[in-house]
Symmetry: D2
């Protein structure tokens, strides 16, 4: 099997300014994730908002098998041209993993076609992510019925997204809410996984089970079965 | 619009023996539900396990638009022949509303094709049923984001059912669990709604909002668009 | 039941210039459809591209229960601001029926999140639309297993759309292709139906069964169960 | 990666009696399929109706990763006890590939919960299986938009099965019908693929592309991500 090329993108703004975030992710969330993902068959690199073309050149994207996206306060600063470029790559088969507050990113909203709105409360409370699709590659090797995080931001339903293909995790929050926290979609030939946890001031990505989920998700989202599609007369081509 | 003929079935065993259940449902859960469902365009009648053919004669079923099923301890006493008969009627377009512990009924397991297993704990705890499909006819007129029941039995994931068409409610339980509590399916031309709450020793069906959900569900499950299907050479016919 | 307010939109360009189209639809496709839809409980009006705000003012849309969209060669001339406005109304519960070449309209692409590409051939060939969801309100009262159109443009798979909620019709074409010709989606609280036939130089909308399908679709897409959604802290509101 | 243990089951009746079938599949359809599937990481064995326990002992099934099922005229001769046994293994994660006339097998009907009825015509006509889920592992490496079979039995819609998770192939038949010919489901932790072609008197399984589809399907259906599920108080356990 060929290696998987993973590109981890984040805004990389708060990690440079906010001491609390800096303390958890000194090199940024993108670098932190890229580091723990690295293993035998996974190559990782990073990109961020303030790089040229947000670090997402055509060349770079063409070589990317799976893109991981973490965004929070600067969604509007991502250029529409780059969003269009990422969108085309997803439809052509690049995997996309969307994390936490990136539910409001331009690319996720464009792929979903809905508002992607939700309820939230920043209160570092207990979250339990119940496995609701046992047997799915994304929960391979996860033991127990749920993943427990002692401190997380709450996201609550209604989450305005299309009916997912699979609901991998459903969260329970201490304060009384529930949330579809791990959901999959296929758009064109691209596989998409939205994963809820990952508030910048909680140590969520330090959690070994969360890391395991993301490693599994990378392998799942890497589409090695891409077909050439012929649209005949049509002006647009997917591939 | 024609009236809707609803038949409400329950075992009607515990309501005759157990004082706690008798106190809540003196004439049985079937009669209690049949009473509150009655309105302008809804005709209701009841049936129970100990009647001839469990009260589900061919003639009776042929006239039933929506069948409501509550069962608990006597699933195995329901005859396979009657289950087969109900199954055929569902595929031909009769609506089916499956309540609470009827997740383990023969008819629900036959329609789902899975074990329908789940976790449970009888502890009269707080349940919140969050609306996860706003805009669906089953939650028409329900105000607020959730329905709250002070005392219910807990059912927890993993609930071994096929991916639902729609998840209308997702429950949060005080003790830390979540559950897909209101789920819809179409099998053949029949519309199916499974609704979780309704433990026999809690006053759940006395709750006005729960009653509203069941009224809505009856209207939704009543299929007024049944087509005649031609299977040509095939030995089995749906209609 | 309240009346349903249907707004039928088309570019209304070809019907003014092209003699073949003018002959079939002298007042435009929008007016032709609006006329046959009118009945007891359906009010209809029309709008087209060259009107102010494309005939889709905020006031007009606010009163519209179901919008029907036929577009072909001028998709790019529809302003992004109006598309945004229609999109918000769909998420808030307005029904949307997308016809034929409007698969490439901005609004459909925005709601789907995919390229919506397909194969096509303009050859006035035989099409059979097989019913693949009997018992669905959109095929209520349609007798027989399929609808046959003697002359239509061919659209062929692969059709790059998300997995539909229901596939109501699957087409067979004389030339050897198949197509998912009647597909439903829910986005936010809005119900969406894409219906393939309707080439401007074929008399498709003169066909009584096609007219029946569109009447059924209007009733289905009219969402009378809209809930008020509370997104708490979130900046965007659906309703 | 561990090897995949595939067990290919067929009635093995017609291949012993009917000269036409014997000519195509001298050792039976099960042996023929088992032979072409064999490769580096796939171990195959066969079983048939007239063996003890239909060749499906508990021990044998426990070691089977993917079961392939071809049945036609003797569905009723398969014992309910063995069907129950296979069903439990599927829910626990064994893959199941159901071929052609096995749409009417007890095991498929039990897993679907519907009649699985369809239209058919035995006329050795042209079939084109259009790819309607490009990018899916089951069509990996299949070039072109469709697979063409010169002579096959026709199966036509309506096919009474639950809404599939994915529709991999949609067939076009010379005589005017369409059919959802390659469909996937997940039940419990088991992955299921129904594949339409394979009439016993047509050389379908001799076709190299059909063989490729079945090899792909075996790899897809082999679930290497099985979780241990805890149902707490529940009497039934999936795993």
């Amino acid at each position: 099997m060929d290696n998987i090329n993973v590109l981890v993108w984040s805004e990389y703004r708060q990690a440079r300014k906010d001491p609390e975030v800096k303390n958890l992710y000194p090199e940024g969330i993108n670098s932190y994730i890229a580091n723990f993902l690295k293993e035998n068959q996974i190559n990782t690199s990073t990109a961020h908002l303030d790089q040229k073309e947000h670090g997402l050149s055509k060349k770079k994207l063409a070589k990317t098998d799976v893109l991981i996206w973490w965004g929070h306060r600067a969604h509007e600063e991502v250029s529409d041209e780059i969003v269009e470029r990422v969108h085309k790559r997803v439809l052509s088969g690049m995997g996309l993993i969307v994390l936490h507050s990136a539910h409001y990113s331009k690319i996720f909203k464009k792929l979903m076609g809905t508002s992607c709105s939700l309820k939230w409360r920043e209160d570092s409370e207990l979250e339990r992510l119940w496995i609701t699709s046992p047997g799915h590659p994304i929960v391979k090797g996860i033991t127990g019925d749920y993943i427990e995080l002692q401190e997380e931001e709450m996201y609550g339903e209604y989450f305005d997204v299309p009916n997912p293909d699979q609901i991998i995790f459903t969260s329970w929050f201490e304060g009384g809410e529930v949330f579809r926290s791990g959901i999959t979609y296929k758009r064109g030939q691209g596989k998409i996984f939205y994963f809820r946890p990952g508030h910048e001031s909680n140590p969520t990505y330090h959690n070994k089970t969360v890391q395991k989920v993301l490693k599994n998700a990378v392998k799942w989202a890497n589409n090695t079965s891409i077909n050439s599609i012929n649209f005949g007369n049509s002006p647009e081509m997917l591939n």
